[in-house]
Symmetry: C2
Subunit: 204 residues, 2 copies
């Protein structure tokens, strides 16, 4: 199972603007989580076919922590001991205006999570992620501005949910990430994590 979190970086919170009005009524106090089920995961080199009626997709570069063993109720101080690997991911979402309803169709369509090669864990606190679409750099983001870093996020999520070996926790995605269209070739890369390539294809 793959879990992710939105609004986990200062830049995204700034971009989304005030969260004081309904329905949000304030910035999130707990991680705002979502799930990417097994049907979403595809490997490096995949061609991702968009669902019917979709012509473009948001491409959010992120990094996943891969669980080396099952765990629950982890403290921030020791949470990272259970991480068996780290991995690049391209979290694809159909553009959607609001988070007020669980966006399952928009975030969980087949192939909506290309995932790279799993690497041994290392310090991610200053990692820079680069996204290129058709050879052009469209986003560069640093994990230095995460609100919950890897250890804190893992601790918070495992407080109520047992994570199993092989589960992946994605560290956060940019709000309104760059969009790719059908036909686009995407590359996501980061020092120490290699690169991840995929192609977006038109649906029926």
């Amino acid at each position: 199972m793959i879990y992710g979190v939105i609004l986990n970086d200062a830049a995204s919170l700034q971009k989304i603007g005030s969260l004081d009005e309904a329905p949000y009524k304030g910035a999130p106090q707990a991680p705002v989580l979502y799930i990417k089920p097994a049907n979403t995961r595809v490997a490096d080199g995949a061609t991702v076919k968009l669902p019917d009626g979709a012509n473009s997709v948001e491409v959010a570069a992120t990094v996943g922590l891969v669980m080396g063993r099952a765990a629950a109720r982890l403290s921030p101080a020791t949470a990272l001991e259970v991480v068996g690997g780290v991995v690049l991911a391209g979290d694809l979402s159909l553009p959607h205006a609001s988070y007020y309803r669980p966006a399952i169709r928009e975030k969980c369509f087949d192939g909506s999570l290309p995932v790279g090669e799993v690497k041994p864990p290392f310090d991610l606190s200053k990692l820079v992620l680069r996204t290129e679409i058709d050879g052009q750099l469209v986003e560069e983001r640093s994990l230095a501005d995460l609100i919950r870093g890897p250890a804190r996020l893992l601790s918070d999520v495992s407080e109520f949910m047992t994570l199993n070996q092989g589960d992946v926790l994605l560290l956060g995605v940019s709000y309104m990430a760059p969009q790719a269209k059908a036909g686009s070739r995407v590359k996501i890369s980061a020092d120490g994590l290699g690169s991840l390539h995929f192609t977006i294809a038109q649906g029926a």
Copy 2:
């Protein structure tokens, strides 16, 4: 993987009242889906410990379709051919005021989906589900008022998501289902599906 849907019955839509204002702006046009990951599933007879700080839980009786084989892009006319079984489930949620943020903690805590014994498929269109808490009947609902019946729901969900063998699609839960407290003993039953028992326990 287990998928569910909210607001899929006339009684729930009536109870939630007008959806014309923000953030909803109208009744749902597509199934409003959620996911119950593997950590939520427990068997008949389980004791479900509530997460820290929670004292009560909503108990929503529902029925799951168990996939007999992997499938995608099913038409309503033939969707039920892939169903290998049907099963009672008690979908537990911590009470939460709004659906505007994905309610992962509230719906996905460990043990939040007691599931009964899988039975061979049969016609569910008039099935009546009964929920008893501490021996008292607290809800009786009929699947006759589903907005999307089993075939239509399975078709709509499989339009964008491949379902695997053993995946479960829950047919819908009541809005503001009856609540059970720590110490309560719950029984859910339906003709042809037997009964499902579980106990709610206080968290730390």
